[in-house]
Symmetry: C2
Subunit: 131 residues, 2 copies
């Protein structure tokens, strides 16, 4: 893992040892989701080429799509200017959201109300949870 | 502000009263930056149509571009599935990053090193800080 040292050193993990990770579909630009990574999740993601987050609710590594098959293949890993956010360019298989929608940002504030703007495309995978 | 109640109620602010806000250029899909909002920042953004964040370093409202002119006009405000992230579709004037680059995610992990993949396009505005 020592070869990842320049990357890990550039990331500013918070007091909980986590950094927010934004996942974007690499070719369409679609914003898929935001989750969190710790150092181990970053290292595993780089090693395997599949996105691994840290689940804050379960307090364990969360290999995205492990149970649902809706994996995210890493295309490029980017770090922001001050290192406290990472951007994951990914290739999403199936759907990113645990509700079965393609992405998690399906509620838009329009005309004074939260409006659902995306349909459920897949059976919500019960074991695939956010955060 | 009571008319914003359904939106504010849908957002899960963390223990510090903040929610991560991802800003994306509405027409190109370019990921611009991630910053944080509190309830007041959300309300001001919706009221004015210009993005207002919460600066964690300065502990005050941060009207993006107030000093630099590099404002972000709100196009659409979205909330994710479990309410703990918001997505701002914006129209960015000038550059989003305090380094003078168009967006903050200009460091990519390529061939075992962090590579700068975007050029400085504007004079870095000294008073425009991240977070």
């Amino acid at each position: 893992m020592s070869d990842l040292a320049p990357l890990l050193d550039a990331i500013v993990f918070n007091a909980d040892g986590l950094v927010p990770a934004v996942a974007q579909q690499h070719d369409t630009g679609e914003m898929l989701m935001l989750a969190w990574m710790n150092r181990d999740a970053v290292a595993e993601t780089l090693r395997t080429g599949r996105i691994c987050y840290w689940s804050r609710s379960r307090q364990s590594l969360w290999r995205k799509g492990e149970t649902s098959g809706h994996v995210q293949r890493l295309v490029e890993f980017r770090v922001d200017c001050d290192g406290d956010t990472v951007l994951l360019l990914v290739d999403q298989s199936g759907v990113a959201c645990h509700t079965g929608r393609r992405n998690c940002f399906f509620r838009a504030w329009r005309n004074g109300r939260l409006t659902t703007i995306a349909a459920v495309e897949a059976e919500p995978p019960a074991t695939e949870r956010r955060s």
